[in-house]
């Protein structure tokens, strides 16, 4: 080993604490970035693969009364790769006494030849017999059943029937059951018949040819050609559904999560870079005199720079060796957590080369770049300058206007004044320390703000739903009949009826969009309180006015206030003027028209399809009690409930959706606090080490222990406070940027951003506690040495 490298190795050993801090800083940067990159790359790929493995339908058409010959004819059409038939029915499953959950039952002719929207057998029976059901694996916990259990299932107006769970399947193409609070089951046609539904298929699933597999326009064109052909052939097409090609139904949430992974990956890289720059700068400042000696005995600048770059690369390599395997391990473990939550299968844990390349870059290139300024600065000084370096600014204090201003502060005690001046003596170091802490603090504050904004958005969304229970009937019933039946149930303070149906937008070229819910509330409905983003809500005298929710407005239809759209609802084509856009978080695309107008165009007279119920006490217990009573009453009155949801159900779905994100944000915050604390402690310790001689002089001239402590601790607190202010200033705009971007991906609308005071308070508390503890630690280290040793300290 060459003498130069021997020197480096010995320097490491001599400065174990500094070396350890640099390794730890690089380690945390590589680990944080690597873990997130690994998680991101595997999750993205496996979720897509898992979804594509199901061979998802490119579009589906709801049509009835067809046979195998029609399927064969459709299969031969241009652009169609394959066609399959099945029946999908919405049902209700009794998961506890009188507690009914929305369920989706898929009735399939031949379970062994499913080619579209496939699912995998997990355990138990592979084929559901008569009166049996195969449960999607995530639905087991939602319904609180295990294989072999039986439960009541009810479809529409029919009586409930007992079904036994005989097998478990995994359907990665469905939204996770736990997240949606729904049950998915696969049944045979015979069982469907037993539940009172004709054993005929109602859905045609299509997969288009490879050329247009991911081309939404091409798929739409093919879908509407098929629809036209079906209609021309005499079939009644109820609905054409075209999902976004290649995008999992939970893609928005996954993308939001992936956005956070990317964001925090980049942030941890930046944080690590700033911290490493700070630490390496400190490490090199302790080497100034040795650099001078080496230059004096003939070392060229490049040789010295090479030695320190080699040192940084060795430290980076050590960190990489430690961090990369851990990042792989933790990343893969988190992939399993994500796979469980988002219900996808992980076929391969392979990590792409670019993830490793970026980790190596984070471990070697970033530290080398971070070290460039201190290395250039350290090796640039002439031998004479370097030999005269006393560890702090080599220029005379008082030489700049800023120094003079600091020097004029005389309102505080002299030791405190010394702290203030000391804090500014190495302005570059101060800026680096403040930046490290500020970036760390800002990430923490932003993470907590986004979390609070998410909760605030959900709270506001829940406020907009000013009801406790909502019932959606199998068909429209007279409003008077509904009120008469449900109005007598004790514990109810208000019932509001709304009309509506599924509708589509009919475009001039003959195509339609995906079906959406058209709701017709009374203009003075109090149970719908959706915040208006643009335009206005419905007025009493509105006729052909329509209000869209933001998801509808953003769904690619490019509709603006004042535009006229043609809807297709129950076979009629009303032309409506868009008068407003409302924010409706968590829901699907919906449009709202006046109740009276809807009755007029639909030919109904006082009919309603759904009711919103407000209970007296508005607690979840009351909701449960009243819900059971209403169901019984409506059943007795012959009013069939197709769907029921309660405020607490909706709240639960929201909580399930944001739970993962909230957990991730908290995890990221903890990581940031650790890195931030490290930055502060190292910086303070470097600062004290650099002034060890000065401390010795103060002690020699009579400074008491308390004076030294006060000076060091106050300097640390002052640095911490600067960083806290910077973090707060950075965090506020950043919160809005992240909240708006994240909300846009996750909810298709910016979050209702709020600033969480706890983020600011927690970071201030962390700063104050850590600066005090770090100050005490480093001060005692300085005070431990005898004065004569401190005076000769290098």
């Amino acid at each position: 080993m060459g003498i130069r490298f021997k020197k480096i190795a010995k320097d490491f050993l001599l400065n174990m604490s500094r070396t350890f801090l640099v390794i730890l800083a690089i380690f945390l940067g590589v680990f944080g970035t690597g873990m997130l990159l690994n998680l991101l790359s595997i999750t993205q790929r496996e979720m897509d693969n898992s979804y594509m493995e199901t061979n998802p339908s490119s579009f589906s058409i709801r049509v009835s009364g067809y046979d195998n010959e029609l399927i064969a004819n459709l299969s031969a059409m241009e652009g169609i790769e394959m066609v399959e038939a099945r029946r999908t029915v919405r049902a209700r499953t009794e998961v506890a006494a009188n507690v009914w959950l929305t369920s989706y039952l898929f009735a399939i002719d031949d379970f062994e030849s499913v080619r579209i929207d496939k699912f995998n057998h997990v355990e138990g029976a592979a084929l559901p017999g008569f009166g049996k059901v195969l449960f999607e694996q995530e639905a087991l916990s939602v319904a609180d059943v295990t294989q072999g259990d039986t439960l009541n299932v009810k479809i529409s107006l029919n009586d409930p029937q007992e079904l036994q769970v005989t097998g478990v399947v995994h359907a990665p193409g469905l939204k996770p059951a736990w997240m949606e609070s729904v049950v998915y089951g696969y049944i045979s046609k015979e069982t469907l018949d037993m539940l009172g539904i004709p054993a005929e298929n109602n859905d045609l699933l299509f997969v288009v040819s490879d050329e247009i597999r991911f081309d939404k326009e091409g798929i739409s064109e093919t879908a509407f050609t098929v629809r036209d052909w079906l209609e021309e052939s005499g079939y009644t097409v109820n609905r054409v559904t075209i999902p976004t090609p290649g995008k999992h139904p939970n893609g928005d949430q996954t993308n939001a999560l992936l956005f956070l992974f990317q964001l925090f990956g980049v942030m941890s890289l930046i944080l690590s870079g700033v911290l490493v720059a700070n630490l390496i700068s400190s490490l090199l400042s302790g080497q100034t005199r040795q650099i001078a000696i080496m230059k004096a005995i003939g070392a060229r600048r490049g040789q010295i720079a090479g030695m320190y770059y080699a040192m940084v690369l060795i430290l980076g390599t050590i960190s990489l060796v430690l961090a990369m395997p851990l990042a792989v391990m933790v990343g893969k473990a988190l992939v399993n957590v994500c796979a469980g939550m988002l219900n996808f299968t992980v076929a391969s844990y392979n990590i792409p080369w670019w993830s490793y390349a970026l980790q190596i870059c984070a471990g070697l290139l970033i530290p080398a770049l971070a070290a460039t300024y201190p290395i250039v600065k350290g090796t640039k000084a002439t031998v004479n300058e370097a030999l005269r370096d006393y560890g702090v600014s080599n220029k005379q204090f008082d030489s700049t206007r800023f120094d003079k201003w600091i020097g004029r502060i005389k309102v505080v005690k002299r030791p405190v004044l010394l702290s203030v001046r000391n804090a500014f003596r190495r302005l570059g170091r101060l800026l680096l320390t403040v930046s490290t802490l500020a970036v760390g603090g800002a990430i923490l504050i932003v993470a907590l703000n986004v979390n609070a904004s998410l909760s605030n958005t959900v709270d506001k969304a829940m406020e907009a739903l000013n009801y406790d229970l909502q019932y959606y009937f199998s068909k429209s019933y007279p409003e008077d009949e509904i009120i008469e039946a449900a109005g007598g149930v004790p514990g109810i303070s208000k019932i509001e009826c709304m009309a509506g149906a599924m509708a589509t937008v009919a475009y001039e070229d003959g195509t339609e969009n995906n079906p959406f819910q058209l709701v017709a509330p009374h203009y003075d409905a109090e149970t719908l309180n959706l915040p208006v983003i643009e335009g206005r809500w419905l007025n009493s005298d509105d006729t052909n006015a329509v209000v869209l929710n933001h998801k509808f407005a953003d769904s690619g239809s490019d509709v603006r206030i004042g535009d006229t759209i043609t809807l297709k609802v129950n076979g009629i084509l009303p032309e409506l003027v868009v008068v407003g856009i409302v924010k409706e978080v968590g829901g699907n695309e919906k449009a709202y028209v006046n109740y009276d107008y809807y009755q007029k165009i639909s030919g109904g007279d006082g009919y309603a399809r759904m009711i919103n119920v407000v209970t007296d006490e508005r607690t979840s217990e009351t909701q449960d009690t009243v819900s059971v009573l209403i169901e019984e009453t409506l059943k007795k009155a012959g009013l069939d409930v197709m769907l029921k949801s309660s405020f607490s159900d909706v709240q639960k779905v929201f909580d399930n959706h944001i739970g993962i994100i909230a957990a991730f944000l908290v995890l990221a915050s903890v990581l940031v606090i650790v890195v931030g604390i490290m930055g502060l402690v190292s910086s303070m310790s470097m600062s004290v080490m650099e002034r060890m001689r000065e401390i010795g002089v103060m002690r020699a001239t009579g400074a008491k222990t308390s004076d030294i402590l006060l000076i060091i601790i106050f300097e640390g607190i002052l640095t911490g406070l600067f960083s806290w202010i910077t973090a707060c200033v950075l965090a506020i705009p950043f919160t809005y940027v992240v909240g708006n971007t994240f909300g846009g991906i996750f909810l298709q609308t910016p979050l209702d951003n709020v600033l969480n005071p706890w983020g600011f308070i927690i970071w201030l508390a962390v700063i104050l506690i850590i600066t005090t503890l770090a100050g005490l630690g480093t001060a005692f280290k300085a005070l431990d040495l005898p004065v004569n040793e401190v005076l000769t300290y290098e």
Partner: protein, 230 residues
């Protein structure tokens, strides 16, 4: 032919720090093989003069010539290369690298300058330590040695690349009289072997040992006395 006789020459050298003149107008020659002592009070400019000669500082104006080399026009990289080949420096506080052993401290300048072939470096370093009487400390860290011993190691290091010029700033300033005498003897021996020696000193003993004494006062050369060559 004056150029060939003088190892290094300073012509009208001025140096100012923060607009304060430290060297005012110095013209002086240092002939090859001569042992020169620069004396003067603290702040007179003698260390600054030494730094000009060793190339670790540059003049504000004036010329410094060493053979064909014009030091005042060289950039830092060229000065470093020149210094590595031509100058050995001895500091008052020894300035040995504390993390390297005594032997490794001698090997380090050889490693940087690559003048001595790699295969001969250890042997050369050991010979130098032997010559300075500190070979038994070859594998010891410098901090475990006395001041006198450390200064001998520093002198050995200054000779590592066998430079023609040895510069020393107060080499006995931090030593007791016995050690100081030993160091003075070593400098005399080096001069007798043909090295050009320039030292800054307050020590009367050391200056008396020199061939020539240059006195500096307030940035100017006040006196320049040579001993009669016998």
């Amino acid at each position: 032919m004056e150029k060939n006789l003088n190892f290094i020459s300073l012509r009208h050298v001025k140096k100012t720090y923060s607009e304060e003149p430290v060297l005012k107008d110095i013209t002086v020659n240092f002939p090859t093989g001569e042992f020169t002592a620069i004396v003067g009070k603290s702040g007179s400019g003698k260390s600054t003069l030494l730094n000009m000669v060793s190339g670790i500082d540059r003049p504000t104006s004036g010329e410094i010539l060493c053979g064909e080399n014009q030091l005042h026009e060289m950039n830092e990289a060229k000065l470093t290369a020149w210094r590595g080949k031509n100058v050995g420096i001895v500091f008052q506080f020894f300035q040995l690298i504390p993390t390297l052993t005594v032997l490794e401290n001698i090997l380090l300048p050889m490693d940087f300058c690559a003048i001595v072939p790699n295969s001969k470096r250890t042997q050369t370093a050991k010979k130098l330590l032997e010559k300075m009487g500190v070979s038994r400390y070859a594998d010891t860290l410098p901090t475990l040695l006395s001041g006198g011993e450390q200064q001998r190691v520093a002198i050995a290091r200054s000779l590592a690349n066998n430079p023609p010029l040895i510069i020393a700033d107060e080499p006995t300033g931090n030593l007791d009289s016995q050690n100081a005498e030993e160091i003075i003897r070593l400098f005399r021996e080096m001069a007798d072997e043909g090295k050009t020696i320039i030292i800054v000193t307050h020590s009367r003993e050391l200056s008396e040992c020199a061939d020539r004494i240059v006195s500096i006062h307030d940035g100017n050369i006040e006196g320049d006395t040579s001993k009669a060559v016998g």
